[in-house]
């Protein structure tokens, strides 16, 4: 019996003993893959919890949902959720999701991936999917670094943060993701931290139910690298930091919501607007131009 099997058996025994239906996440997760690979006090598991809760609250059948991830720590989310899920190549979750959504518009397609994956290597796709307003939801877990590869500087690392490829501190200017998302056309933009479980769940519900390219950024602790190297302590200390330094400002102009290394963190719902989605635009435009010759596309 391997160590993992032993642990699973122990968990099973204990779950049976409790005499109830088991952990509410068990229907949502591929339990044969739990425990997951994320470090103690990592925030990604919290985001998975909230995502599951959001889907549950919306009441959408899970067969109609697909999760697409790229590569990285957050890229592993696709492997743990028990719904149709794709663990694609580095940076290309969004174009894969675009194809999936356009291939079958009845699906609810959600991209859950990290900051490095979505806005660095995948930055171009992020920009264009938002510009086109493809009807997908993007949940970006931002831990300010490339964690899976050992903590390199990322496009989101605050100036002065110490990481393995910025050993003397980062001298670049990081992306302000809500600002980026808004300026390229996202219809919904919100930011919360891993600590804001109810707020982030609500934001996910908003994003999932709103047509168009919707974007939720979740700031999450990376205890092993970012927090340790930048003397934030562990993930719990970082949650406490979020607790003390977060300020909720709904509707704040996104240009003002940069995250510095030790500045306050502006969270909230920043953008909520309506624009026709790519598919709606295609159907209405071609109908207008081609009349009866056009075959409306429904998947």
């Amino acid at each position: 019996m391997s160590v993992t099997d032993e642990l699973k058996a122990a968990v099973q025994a204990q779950t049976n003993k409790s005499g109830d239906a088991g952990h509410p996440m068990e229907d949502f997760l591929r339990m044969d893959r739990i425990p997951h690979i994320w470090c103690p006090t990592c925030g990604i598991g919290v985001v998975v919890n909230c995502f599951a809760r959001a889907l549950e609250k919306i009441g959408i059948p899970l067969d109609d949902v697909a999760v697409v991830s790229g590569i990285g720590c957050t890229g592993r989310v696709a492997g743990y959720v028990k719904i149709d899920s794709f663990h694609t190549t580095h940076g290309r979750a969004i174009p894969f999701a675009t194809g999936l959504k356009l291939g079958n518009p009845k699906l609810k397609v959600v991209v859950i991936s990290g900051d490095g994956d979505l806005v660095s290597i995948g930055g171009n796709h992020f920009v264009h999917a938002a510009r086109r307003n493809v009807d997908i939801t993007v949940i970006c877990v931002n831990n300010f670094n490339y964690a899976m590869t050992g903590g390199q500087m990322a496009a989101t690392s605050p100036t002065d943060s110490i990481l393995t490829t910025s050993p003397y501190g980062n001298f670049e200017t990081p992306f302000n993701l809500p600002f980026l998302a808004e300026s390229v056309g996202a219809t919904y933009v919100a930011r919360w931290t891993a600590l804001h479980i109810h707020r982030q769940t609500e934001a996910m519900i908003d994003a999932l139910t709103k047509p168009g390219f919707t974007f939720v950024e979740i700031l999450a602790p990376c205890p092993t690298i970012f927090e340790r190297r930048n003397k934030f302590g562990d993930g719990l200390d970082r949650l406490n930091y979020y607790y003390e330094h977060s300020e909720i400002k709904h509707g704040e102009p996104t240009a003002n919501v940069d995250v510095g290394l030790r500045t306050k963190i502006i969270v909230g719902k920043f953008v909520d607007k309506d624009r026709p989605t790519w598919l709606d635009s295609m159907n209405s435009h071609l109908k207008r131009k081609l009349g009866d010759r056009f075959t409306p596309y429904e998947g």
Binding site: E6, L7, A10, V11, Q14, T15, S18, D20, H23, P24, M25, L29, I34, P35, H36, W38, C39, P40, T41, C42, G43, I44, G45, V46, V48, N49, C50, R53, L195, I197, H198, T201, D234, G235, L236, L239, N240
Partner: protein, 91 residues
């Protein structure tokens, strides 16, 4: 309002509040302490015991105070703790 003039709520000698039974799956826990720190009712503490991986899972030291809010379940990154509805607590 007139209702405020009543000393007690209508119909209840003693008000009841929800109560949750806390279930901790020890072997999944990585001892992060999120649930302990952020339980709104201060129900939990990290225990002295170790699980198989060498972490200290939490334990309910103030079981009675749990109101089944589910915060611990949501904040747990390991899917290792949850609450189920129990008999309401009177008074």
């Amino acid at each position: 309002m007139r209702i405020r003039e009543h000393k007690k709520p209508f119909g209840f000698e003693k008000p009841s509040r929800p109560h949750g039974k806390i279930i901790i799956i020890d072997e999944r826990c990585k001892g992060c302490g999120f649930c302990v720190e952020y339980c709104p009712q201060d129900v939990l503490e990290l225990s002295e015991r170790f699980n198989k991986k060498g972490y200290h899972p939490p334990e309910a030291v103030n079981d009675h105070a749990c109101v089944n809010c589910g915060f611990c379940r949501m904040i747990c990154p390991e899917f290792a703790i949850y609450t189920v509805e129990d008999e309401p607590v009177i008074g």
